[in-house]
């Protein structure tokens, strides 16, 4: 008798009411498991909304942190929002073109053996813990040149690259083969077919993939701790210097002993959470719409 599979004992030795009761029990447990998962989400969003809303005002985004002895703990986090904008922006500029090119190479050009190697590298890169990426960039740039917005952007780009490439590959694979063949049969060169026939079909998918990747790295803290965390309170836009970011600010404020700092941490967390939830939900919604459109045309 095997440990799994439907055995004769299951069907005969156990009577029907008991089997039904077991079935009912397992169904209830599965419902409960789903309820627990949703419960976690509701609990977090609700706490952040409740604790963050009271402190949420325009000053959070427009004012810099006050540094005076009596005023510390007040002011906003304008420097952090500016820094996040710059660092995530540059990271996107690095990861987006590279990710699209990697995806194009894998789907259009690569021989199977090379494809397996690159594909595995993307998966491995995706699995490297964010804190290790931080240490890597620390060793690569920070030890020689000090912390900077560029170093932080590069760290975030390492995390974005496999995400962008993976989602671009998914939509590229959905582009009908007949479309490529029709274009090639008309005598259009391979590169023009790829760039002006295949790629435009996937714009929607690439945008949603990129938005999801941006939403993911906008909240990353670990890669920034070693690359862009030793900062002042002024608003800087120059990525040659270390820039404050929203996640690092939340991390530091949450470890502080001052309750006023906690309030600002909650408010910043609310802004970050709203941004991430809105962008990722919109992207997901667009993705399903886009995918069904592409699949329908096949």
């Amino acid at each position: 008798m095997s440990t799994h599979g439907i055995t004769r004992a299951d069907m005969h030795a156990v009577n029907l009411p008991r089997r039904r009761a077991l079935n009912r029990l397992m169904e209830v447990l599965a419902w409960l498991a789903a309820a627990v998962a949703i419960g976690f989400l509701v609990l977090i969003v609700w706490s952040v909304a409740r604790k963050g809303a009271s402190e949420l005002n325009l000053a959070l985004i427009t004012k810099t942190p006050a540094t005076g002895f009596f005023t510390s703990g007040s002011g906003g986090l304008a420097n952090a929002f500016a820094g996040t904008l710059v660092i995530v922006g540059i990271a996107t500029l690095m990861a987006l073109p590279t990710g699209i090119l990697v995806a194009l190479y894998l789907t259009e050009f690569a021989p199977p053996s090379v494809r397996n190697i690159v594909s595995l590298s993307l998966d491995v890169l995706n699995g490297v813990p964010a804190i290790v990426i931080g240490i890597f960039v620390y060793g690569l740039f920070v030890l020689g040149h000090g912390q900077s917005g560029y170093a932080a952007s590069f760290a975030l780009a390492c995390i974005m690259l496999p995400l962008v490439a993976r989602s671009t590959i998914e939509v590229l694979l959905l582009v009908p083969r007949a479309l490529r063949e029709a274009s090639l049969a008309l005598g259009v060169a391979r590169w023009r077919t790829t760039l002006s026939i295949v790629l435009p079909q996937t714009i929607g998918g690439i945008i949603t993939g990129t938005v999801l990747a941006v939403a993911r790295v906008a909240g990353e803290t670990a890669p920034l701790l070693f690359t862009s965390s030793l900062v002042g309170t002024q608003v800087h836009w120059n990525p040659h210097h270390a820039l404050q970011t929203v996640p690092v600010a939340i991390f530091e404020l949450s470890e502080s002993a001052d309750p006023q700092d906690h309030a600002r941490a909650w408010a910043a967390a609310l802004v970050l959470l709203l941004f991430i939830l809105l962008t990722s939900l919109t992207a997901r919604w667009l993705a399903t719409r886009n995918r069904s459109k592409l699949s329908a045309s096949r």
Partner: protein
């Protein structure tokens, strides 16, 4: 009927001119360079981390891994990863033990039980849980979850199950290993559940209907058909979840409290490999401490590589055996 006749001269004219061939070559080169860069990046990460850790490896050797000490006092510096390895193992394994049944239950609910109207929204809600940044989960962990666990859950567990050494006296302050376990459970639950859901969706309908037609209950069908079919994939999903739990730094740093010691009680503070690195971000006391921190990162990196490659290997093996199956592990 076409106006452009296919005369021999036209047919003999090359379809792709020199410009076209140059374009092909160029695009292939640029795209190939990007792909090569992605592969080289992985090697570069490994090389840089090994290089950073080398002085600590030279000084402490393999004993670093098991030694339980972290003494940055200049002149008498001794470092070891033992307590952090222990903290990592206990937090991530227990988190996985909590998350696995929850995630599989969730996936079963989403594929077998949920009314059709609930499926899409509940699926995206569970995936939204994965999108919450770890620093926000950590913030919530310190100020909401920690106090709740400390006041209500820990005393209850201690009084009923106190004879098990895991459930020692409740923590005096908020942070504890237990809080970290619950936080990690929340973070890996959506990952494991979404992979498992896709596996369950891939189980052939006729197998499931066949079992039901033989008179099994729904649970017996799941146990006899769905689980055996998805077994390899579930193992891979659990490994990936474990990898995520081991590598999570920020949320754990915020709730675990820190400390260099090994004790079984879940209700006291501790540290994991990742949280020790993250909490030292404001600078190490000495160069040797810095190299030792990078040594910790090297252990993390090796573990994450092993976890990912073994998960991919399982997925590919299962996919080959079943002909079709989950295409999560690349598209080869």
């Amino acid at each position: 009927m076409s106006s452009a006749e296919l005369t021999p001269e036209v047919a003999r004219r090359p379809l792709t001119g020199r410009r076209a061939r140059l374009g092909d070559l160029l695009l292939q080169l640029v795209a190939g360079a990007a792909a090569a860069a992605a592969t080289v990046l992985v090697l570069l990460i490994a090389w840089k981390v090994v290089e950073g850790a080398r002085p600590a490896i030279a000084k402490f050797g393999v004993h670093f891994i098991t030694r339980v000490v972290w003494n940055p006092v200049v002149g008498r510096e001794v470092f070891g990863a033992g307590s952090f390895l222990f903290g990592t193992a206990i937090t991530s394994l227990l988190a996985l033990a909590l998350a696995a049944p929850l995630a599989i239950g969730c996936a079963l609910f989403l594929t077998e039980l949920a009314p059709r109207v609930l499926r899409a929204p509940v699926t995206s809600l569970v995936e939204t849980l994965a999108a919450i940044p770890s620093v926000v989960i950590g913030l919530w962990g310190i100020y909401v979850l920690g106090p709740i666990l400390q006041r209500h859950v820990e005393p209850a567990l201690h009084s009923t199950l106190g004879f098990i050494p895991l459930f020692g006296p409740p923590s005096s302050a908020g942070p504890s290993i237990f809080t970290a376990i619950v936080v990690l459970t929340m973070m890996i639950l959506p990952i494991v559940s979404s992979i498992t859901r896709e596996l369950f969706l891939g189980v052939p309908r006729e197998l499931k209907e066949g079992a039901l037609a033989l008179g099994t209950t729904r649970w017996e069908m799941v146990r006899g058909v769905v689980f055996p079919y998805a077994r390899g994939g579930i193992a891979a999903a659990l490994i990936l979840g474990l990898g995520r739990a081991v590598g999570e730094a920020i949320a754990v740093t915020q709730v675990i409290g820190g400390g260099v010691f090994i004790h079984l009680s879940l209700f006291s503070t501790g540290d994991t490999l990742a949280s020790k690195i993250a909490s030292s971000y404001q600078g190490a006391a000495t160069n040797l401490e810095e190299h030792s921190l990078i040594y910790l990162a090297l252990i993390l990196l090796v573990f994450s590589l092993l976890a990912n490659i073994s998960a991919q290997w399982i997925v590919r093996r299962v996919a080959r055996r079943q002909g079709v199956g989950p295409n999560r592990g690349g598209f080869g």
